[in-house]
Symmetry: C2
Subunit: 293 residues, 2 copies
């Protein structure tokens, strides 16, 4: 049980964490900060936080658990703001969808206190944002990738696994580099494609009429295009090199299929589709991995 | 009530139609044909058909309702095969995902009997195929686009609307050309993208490990990549010109977003994402449209 959760960022991810941690009996009290007074007011009203802090440093002060739940582009200034307010025994985690940039920002801002920080990426989310959508059940059953660095002591890693597992999450570990390469392929690229797809369709004269005729395939395929714009701007900018690599591979695959259609090469076309279809049909998410200290 | 449904193609779409039409009390007897003896055996076992026909012509003979539920590339030979077995009062419909090519094939093969054919596209489906997945509930709540042509008599159109509505579908009408342009944008392009995306990820050395780390966003985005390869080969080849147009628009949108990332243009990038996100968040499928004769 943590005495006090310092919640920095009270949106969907942060707000849901506070609700879930409280429900799991893992935190006694939540002090939250958001740059938006409107957000903290609603967080209070909804029982997401017990008290509102005047700034990130105030939320950190006296907290033995700190969750940084801000768009990744705001990580550096958040770490800088809380550095001198960190209790020496506090565990600090984040929820960012990119990890190399967050780790670099933490290294620069935190100095030797970097040992208190365990970088985390809970792979849950919804296409709606904000504290009004915070949900105690958001994390249950989800997968959390923990990306410790050389400076992270084993007991901190163990502690981080335990927090997420108490919320019903499966946890696994990767290096920040490996995380960012994998996520560029299976998360960042699909989001980029989904945004571009919607723009491409909507930008044509009959685009909105076309959209009105879309069915269940479109609905699922494009669901992620409704995601939070600020969050995705930051992810795209933070992980641009890996995303560029994946875009290159995707374009090559797209060009190849288009060429087969253009040439009317039915045999090769169906073989290509069959490969993709079989891979997707047999796909299932990773098995949960036990914590390794 | 139709006395006999002649079912040509006993896969997911055809098999589900037979089950649903029987459940809705719209057909008394079902005679089915499939080129695969294995499929017709299972269709009999599952009660999808009451009797197996030796060929498409046999399935049509004596039937007052005929459903052509074959990959669109097999439409031409199916129409040619049944032409001389059509009862003059029979209503014939198809379920193809493209309509111009099916209409052209019907015109060439059916001669003046084209008046008995109402081209239809029920926008339902699953990423599994085959009679073993046939489901009486597949069509309920789905949208069916009916694309009559100059030769289609008003009473045939009305009759077609009534059949689908009896299965719980919403029906609306478009020209075949308008259908194919819209579906290229909101269905054919997403499928092509999803196949290419899976190929692009899987083809790299760490591809399968990356896929094992994918989460719920990936799951929904790529669900359609598991679709039936034969069906999609035919759709891509049949509607290649419209798909090319949409691919061109998509690539332009993709290039634009990539350029904004490359330039680190955070303001323009978030504006672009915000537009896409708002369009998708406010999307809802078309309202049902009353039949017009």
């Amino acid at each position: 049980m943590f005495e006090q959760l310092g919640l920095i960022g009270c949106g969907l991810m942060g707000g849901s964490f506070a609700l879930a941690a409280r429900q799991a009996g893992r935190v006694r009290r939540v002090v939250g900060y958001s740059p938006s007074a409107n957000t903290t007011r609603r967080a209070l009203e909804r029982g997401v936080v017990d008290a509102v802090a005047a700034g990130a440093a105030d939320a950190a002060k006296g907290s033995d658990l700190i969750l940084v739940a801000v768009p990744v582009g705001a990580s550096a200034r958040t770490f800088a703001a809380i550095r001198d307010s960190l209790r020496p025994d506090a565990l600090m985690m984040d929820v960012g969808s990119t990890k190399r940039d967050v780790v670099e920002a933490a290294r620069r801002a935190l100095g030797e206190r970097i040992a208190q920080f365990v970088p985390c990426h809970p792979m849950v989310g919804r296409e709606v944002a904000g504290v009004e959508n915070a949900d105690a059940g958001l994390y249950a059953g989800g997968q959390v990738i923990i990306t410790p660095i050389a400076e992270t002591p084993p007991e901190r890693i163990t502690q981080a696994h335990a927090v997420w597992q108490a919320l019903g999450c499966h946890t696994l570990q990767l290096t920040p580099e490996s995380h960012d390469a994998a996520l560029a392929a299976v998360s960042h690229l699909p989001h980029l494609i989904a945004f571009a797809f919607i723009q491409g369709v909507a930008a044509q004269p009959e685009g909105h009429r076309f959209l009105s005729l879309a069915g269940p395939g479109f609905r699922d395929f494009s669901r992620i295009a409704a995601s939070n714009p600020d969050m995705w701007r930051d992810i795209f900018l933070a992980n641009s090199a890996e995303i560029k690599t994946q875009l290159h591979r995707f374009r090559a695959a797209l060009d190849h299929i288009e060429q087969l259609i253009e040439n009317g090469n039915a045999e090769a076309l169906v073989a290509e589709i069959r490969t993709a279809s079989a891979i997707r049909a047999h796909w299932s998410p990773a098995q949960p991995v036990k914590p390794t200290a």
